[in-house]
Amino acid sequence: MKNLVVLLFAFISISAFSQTKLSTTSSHIKFFSSTPAEDIEANNYKAIGVIKPDIGSIVFSIPMQSFEFEKALMQKHFNTEKFLHTKAFPKSKFKGTITNITSIDFDKDGTYVADVTGFLTIRGVTKEISEKFNIVVKDGTVTGTTEFPIVLADYGIAFKEGKPSTNLAKTIKVTAKFNFTKISA
């Protein structure tokens, strides 16, 4: 009888864990381009994402028209067909897996480095990427940060002439910070 109770408790615990997911609507994604001509920065606070610890999945969706630039003209150029074509491709998405999910305890305070592999889709072009995702668990809150380069030509964005060819870097730096909330489904 005692063993049955222990088994039942373990089953309930596993079930509860497997149904928990981490959701975020609190985000900040920044991209930074640096050339001798000028530095360009854009910020976006509207990305959302979900981590499912039971299967190790991690996904994000980024509304592209929410990127804001200091200069209005740059923001217009960013959205046009030649650049991100945001009318036709209003969202960029990432779908991946945390390959070392078993080494991350979202219920225990600590700093973890997640190995993430997956597919990033920008402007309708999908590429496989592998990056580190730093996770901090503290007092019940979960924060994730990352920083990685994006080669614009990989996503069909390339300028051979004109101002963008000299003022926009071929590789831009992306930094992101997400505050996650635990949700029991």
């Binding site: 979900v50 996904v59 509304p63 028209q65 945001t86």
Partner: protein
């Protein structure tokens, strides 16, 4: 004759400099000063995107990012702040899966501070992206509206 030519050249040069300066210092669009394209219920807007995302993107989004300014009517379902400290009001009926997420600005934040869950409001802002349930990603995505302010 020579001085006349010089004057014309000077006017052209000044014109070019003026145009470049205008492009460089062009202000961002003032959303609240822009006439709203339509007044629409939050549920109706969500349903338009769920019924035909392509058609809705064509209608509401702009090639240069200067997308439609809308007045959204709806029920306050949640109140939060984003990482910049901007108020975010979700307009959604309890029975709906998705709603319209309206982000205020640091300047218009105070308008949202008095709101309570369940309040009926009209919020004016610019649409950034539509609603979507991405089964593959298991993501429920609200309509995103930014540069918001409360209107009568």
């Amino acid at each position: 004759m020579k001085s006349k030519i010089l004057k014309i050249i000077a006017v052209i040069i000044l014109g070019v400099i003026g145009y470049v300066a205008y492009l460089w210092f062009m202000p961002h669009r003032n959303i609240q000063a822009t006439k709203a394209y339509a007044t629409i219920d939050a549920t109706a807007l969500v349903n338009e995107f769920l019924a035909d995302a392509q058609k809705s993107n064509d209608l509401y989004l702009d090639t240069e990012g200067e997308s439609k300014v809308l007045i959204i009517t709806g029920t306050v379902a949640s109140i939060s702040k984003d990482q910049l400290g901007q108020q975010v009001i979700l307009l959604k009926k309890p029975a709906d899966k998705m709603g319209v997420s309206c982000t205020f600005t640091l300047e218009s934040n105070s308008q949202a501070e008095g709101l309570k869950i369940g309040d009926q409001v009209n919020i004016k802002g610019v649409i950034r992206s539509g609603a979507e349930y991405d089964e593959d990603l298991d993501l429920t995505e609200n309509v995103i509206v930014e540069k918001s302010a409360i209107v009568q």
